[in-house]
């Protein structure tokens, strides 16, 4: 085999990596110790952060990419894939994370956006990206830019699943509602939701997003995680929900078990017993418009 015949960073490799995460839980961690807890609990990957979203809310100020040293210490600690977040549009933070060797980059509304006009052109990178979306149009735009995985945004750092549910309805219901339309009608509808027509037509033909679709933003209990799976998520991201609960190790394991048995209420009941208090949470209706992270990105 000649080295020059190897191909790196193709669409197939990026989407393939995302497919390997299916049926799994990806956990936010801020240090090697938490990463090891996540791995031991059965997480398929960890998201390396400077702070979990609930703490980003509290801290205020500008939230940026994590310190490379922190990300590297987490990569060294675990054998599962490590992801990390960059600000929306901040392609240099993305270049740096690619250089570090993270397995996937999350262009995330949880951090303070760096560009209010454009998202990163993700096709130009070798490393795959995951991006948040609230509805079908947003998901289509991100996929068109090269996102290999979509996650519904929810409302990060609240421990309140209501926005994750809203966004999953919007995407899954959106696809179902379009299933009877002709290609011509879809092309016309694509203009209405500012979606690239080609990606929309492919999505409706498949009856699902052409990339893996995870749920995120507010998942705090095993029941929350199973709820998102039953609604059609391919897997879940749990941010503050693990390490802001009173017993992170137990909560992490219970959420993993609930995701693997999301259709089995008996198992979900068992794993929900004696796992301490979930994170306290925030009623999203008490948040001001400018405190909503989901409105970042478009």
């Amino acid at each position: 085999m000649k080295l020059e015949e190897l191909r790196y960073g193709t669409e197939l490799l990026k989407r393939g990596f995302a497919s390997m995460q299916k049926g799994g839980v990806i956990m936010d961690v801020v240090n090697a110790e938490q990463a090891l807890i996540a791995e031991e609990a059965g997480a398929v990957a960890v998201m390396a952060l400077e702070r979990v979203p609930a703490d980003i809310r509290k801290a205020g100020g500008v939230a940026r990419m994590a310190d490379p040293e922190r990300v590297l210490s987490i990569i060294d600690a675990v054998s599962i894939p490590v992801m990390a977040k960059v600000r929306i549009g901040h392609f240099v933070e993305a270049q740096v994370l690619q250089e570090i060797g993270v397995d996937m980059i999350d262009e995330s509304e949880v951090l303070t956006p760096a560009d209010e006009e454009y998202h990163i052109v993700k096709k130009e990178f070798t490393v795959p990206f995951v991006c948040g979306a609230r509805d079908l149009g947003e998901a289509m735009r991100r996929i068109n830019e090269g996102a290999a995985m979509i996650r519904t945004k929810g409302e990060a750092g609240t421990g309140n699943v209501v926005e994750a549910v809203r966004h999953m309805h919007a995407i899954m219901g959106g696809i179902r509602a379009l299933s009877g339309l002709s290609e011509q009608e879809l092309v016309s509808f694509a203009r209405e939701i500012e979606a690239p027509a080609e990606v929309l037509v492919e999505t409706v033909r498949l009856g699902r997003l052409p990339v893996v679709n995870f749920s995120a933003g507010g998942i705090a209990t095993p029941c929350d995680a199973a709820l998102m799976m039953q609604m059609g998520a391919d897997g879940v991201f749990v941010g503050s929900g693990i390490f802001h609960s009173s017993m992170p190790q137990k909560m992490a394991k219970a959420i993993v078990d609930a995701v693997h048995n999301f259709n089995d209420p008996a198992v979900i009941m068992e794993v929900s017993k004696g796992i301490g208090d979930p994170m306290r949470g925030i009623d999203v209706h008490t948040l001001k418009e400018d405190e909503l992270l989901q409105n970042r990105g478009w």
Binding site: M1, Y8, S19, K22, S79, P81
Partner: protein, 200 residues
């Protein structure tokens, strides 16, 4: 094609975590090409193994899948399973006698020593045309955070090897691959496996 064999053609896909639906589709296609009528079904608990001629262990996270195999009680059942096992990527780690990582409890069904993530992180994942013994032209293989085997016992037949190590082996009815044939749109390796376990 001998259709009397179709009853024995049921294939299970270990459906605990990973790219299960891709494996189901690939086996459905390979089965159609061979004229088999057998069922391709997900395996989540020991009872699901009944009546299967083969079991695929898909790609995914080997640490996660190995934990789930134990938790679901599938560990002993798979070790006793009489059919052939088609293990890809994470599956290759899990089926080996030495998974190369103390955190993984492996099935130990193929005598080989694995190096996990042998090529590096996701940015080092690659596609390449490789030669596979038994195929008349190269196979376009997809390597995603792939392992390799660095040693194999006698009796394990190496059917593909690249610079970094061994990437495909056969051992009795079992096959293990470091890459992802379920993503390749080429069912030749699936067909070798099916022909072998179904004695076609």
């Amino acid at each position: 094609m001998n259709y009397s064999r179709t009853v024995a053609g049921n294939i299970g896909i270990l459906a605990l975590q990973g790219d299960v639906s891709e494996h189901i589709k690939a086996f459905e296609r390979a089965g159609q090409e061979l004229g088999l009528q057998g069922e391709i079904r997900p395996v989540k608990s020991p009872n699901d193994l009944t009546g299967l001629a083969g079991l695929a262990i898909p790609g995914g996270e080997s640490t996660t899948i190995s934990k789930l195999i134990i938790k679901t009680g599938l560990f002993e059942s798979i070790c006793r399973f009489k059919g052939g096992i088609f293990a890809t990527c994470a599956g290759m780690v899990i089926i080996a006698t030495d998974p190369g990582d103390p955190r993984i409890v492996s099935l130990g069904l193929i005598g080989m020593k694995i190096e996990r993530n042998a090529f590096g992180s996701q940015k080092d994942s690659f596609e390449a045309d490789i030669n596979v013994k038994g195929l008349d032209f190269p196979y376009h293989a997809i390597f995603i955070r792939a392992p390799v085997a660095i040693e194999c016992d006698n009796g394990v037949e190496v059917i593909s090897q690249i610079g970094r190590g061994i990437v495909a082996v056969r051992s009795g009815k079992h096959m293990a691959l470091a890459f992802h044939p379920e993503l390749s749109n080429d069912t030749r390796i699936h067909r070798i496996f099916l022909e072998n376990i179904l004695d076609l």
